[in-house]
Symmetry: C2
Subunit: 405 residues, 2 copies
């Protein structure tokens, strides 16, 4: 039996004001009239979480994690209640739930907790009675009964976790865009909406900056084969379906081109090429919470190697300082920091079975006189690091050469 | 052993912004430095509950009670987290708690729930560890796990309930006034702060419009002999202590003079003077949620009587309509509605043992040519209903004649 249950997740811009909340109630109504059972998952109203974060920062420059989560999770409580009211106003049965009311249990880690379990019994009962449950995204409770939050964009993960727990047919993520695009339409007007993507492609795309879906949500969905559909809450359309790879169809060579806008590159020269050196370099960086993105280490010459990696611009100076302190200790050479770089990537499951994607990519960039700083590849993705000023030209050249328009 | 534990409750104006929240943290610090153990109970930041109510009303003219409570209780979650952060910033140990985290159980009635039980074990543990617990006022959870609220001013009741459950030494209610006054200082500049009041006097004063304390909180405190102290969070001072009647001291004749500003008077003429007639008149009024205040029924003449009562201005037309529909059925006569009246009252335990208070009151009003519409008396209170335009003159005359200045 195919379930007719869909999870519908609405983000902050979809709930920015009462008019928008009423529009969301209309969308849910449409789905119910089309024979679906619906469970809604919602974020805080647009701007609300930021307002709360600003209040916290006024009190403590580094807010206490437990209290910070208690504070910022209040925004979702507001939006679930308002959406449940809007549904009731349309004569639907509806009930709002916070994480504690649902027993949505997470681990202990404030600010980026992971979901351990969800008690779905009350939701099954509601659905039997024709009630539309409206659930706070982003939040959970840990074993101590403290409120936790799942990190930015965590409502997507809440939605997928609920979809899995309830064995829904599909997890629909409503946003302010029509779906996932071949590249950023603001950068290249030839960008096209993608109808279907594999989980793997979406993982590569979302980690690279196509900010429609939280990466953890996609991982979760991939693990449990839960189809995700990215849709607009503003315009009608089928959106982009993200599902397991379809083996019967020939995959497109490349699905999309992405680029980042706030990366910096760090090089530590001539470190001894001995086992464990990479960990020795990166541990002190990640220990202070800095996320490292591209890492390149080439084969060694003269028993030393140049070790290069990228971090976010805002972490660059801190990382450079750590490397400088470290270099002597490791027997390494100079440390170089280059800001204003961008990572440009092409993603597509099709490249697994097609040779020559890399060549085509590098040639296209060479034709435009764009210099490649670093190269990093995976099964379905090739990334290059280029100067930031050439990044948009690179995106356009690659979008053209792989005929995505 | 006398407990050194105090409950400190802070209202919305005491938490209006981050600066005020920091000032509250300073007040708590002072108490701890003075050797007190402190448990804080807080309302939502000033304006926040109203903002949420406005949102609800935009969605539903009569908001769903369960969702309404879920919505408006979010304001307290914000302020507990911020106050706990402010205390942590001062290097105090502190933890915020919502009603569900504390197991603060109420009955099922949304919007004016009553507290059934509080699990104090976690608070006792915190206090042992030197942690200052900061608790959401105003809210609870019912047996179904739904969020409930205790009604306007319910945070006072939360504070007193916690004081009783924790066997605190005193329940301190911090507001924007220095204490309870002999009358409204905006009406009569000779108004004086009262140092000490009995529970009974405070009950009469608070029900009559001295809006510093919720009446249910005083009832609760009276029942369990929990002293309440009303203090300013803006200015230093001893405030007003509300405690059980002190039998060793001679009580002041009159403690205060109060008046209301939005009452209307309804008269139903010549109803048959038979048993049960009062209930028959008032049941349909209270069934629609209208609160009746002063009720006067005089001895009957001709087997009929005039039945008079007061309601809030906003309920007056609705109540008049009900009476009109009812009058024929009851065999009564005309229904009269008079808006723009005020109730002026003098309150004091002293009047129990002193004759002549009523005479003195009525003479003082007569001297000012103020006509009395209705009279109602209790053990420690005498109220008169007068025209609204004469109410402030009446307050001044009574304040003078009972030498409260």
């Amino acid at each position: 039996m195919i379930s007719n249950l869909v999870i519908q997740k609405f983000g902050g811009t979809s709930l920015a004001n009462i008019e928008r909340i009423q529009a969301v109630a209309n969308l849910i109504e449409q789905s119910v009239l089309n024979g679906k059972e619906v469970v809604a998952v919602v974020s805080a109203m647009a701007g609300e979480t930021q307002r709360l974060i600003d209040l916290a920062k006024e009190v403590q420059s580094e807010p206490d994690p437990r209290e910070y989560d208690a504070l910022i999770s209040s925004g979702e409580q507001v939006s679930v209640a308002l959406l449940a009211m809007a549904l009731k106003e349309k004569n639907f049965l509806s009930k709002s739930y916070t994480a504690f009311q649902l027993g949505l249990k997470t681990d202990q880690i404030h600010g980026k907790a992971r979901i351990n379990s969800i008690d779905t019994s009350v939701l099954h009962e509601d659905l039997k009675k024709g009630i539309v449950p409206v659930i706070t995204g982003f939040q959970g409770i840990n074993e101590s009964g403290d409120i936790t939050t799942l990190g930015r964009g965590g409502s997507d993960t809440s939605a997928v976790a609920l979809a899995v727990a309830l064995e829904a047919n599909e997890c629909q993520i409503f946003t302010d865009v029509d779906g996932v695009y071949t590249t950023d339409p603001r950068v290249y007007e030839k960008a096209k909406k993608i109808d279907k993507l594999s989980f793997e492609e979406m993982l590569e795309l979302s980690s690279l900056g196509a900010k429609v879906l939280q990466i953890r949500a996609v991982e979760f969905a991939s693990k449990f084969n839960m189809p995700i559909r990215v849709l607009s809450s503003f315009n009608k359309g089928e959106g982009t379906l993200i599902d397991k790879e379809d083996e019967n169809l020939e995959d497109a060579l490349i699905s999309g081109v992405t680029h980042t806008k706030n990366d910096s590159k760090l090089i530590i020269r001539q470190v001894p090429d001995v086992p464990g050196i990479a960990a020795k370099i990166l541990s002190p960086i990640s220990n202070v919470g800095i996320e490292v993105d591209v890492i390149v280490q080439n084969v060694a010459e003269d028993k030393t190697t140049d070790f290069t990696f990228t971090v976010k611009d805002e972490d660059a100076d801190k990382a450079a300082k750590i490397l400088n302190d470290l270099s002597g200790e490791l027997g390494g050479g100079s440390v170089e920091l280059a800001k204003e770089i961008s990572k440009v990537s092409v993603v597509g499951v099709g490249m697994k079975s097609h040779a020559g994607v890399a060549t085509k990519m590098f040639s296209a960039l060479a034709d435009k006189n764009i210099n490649i700083d670093m190269i990093s590849t995976s099964e379905i993705k090739i990334s290059v690091v280029v100067s930031r000023e050439s990044a948009e030209d690179a995106v356009k050249a690659l979008h053209d050469v792989f005929e995505l328009g």
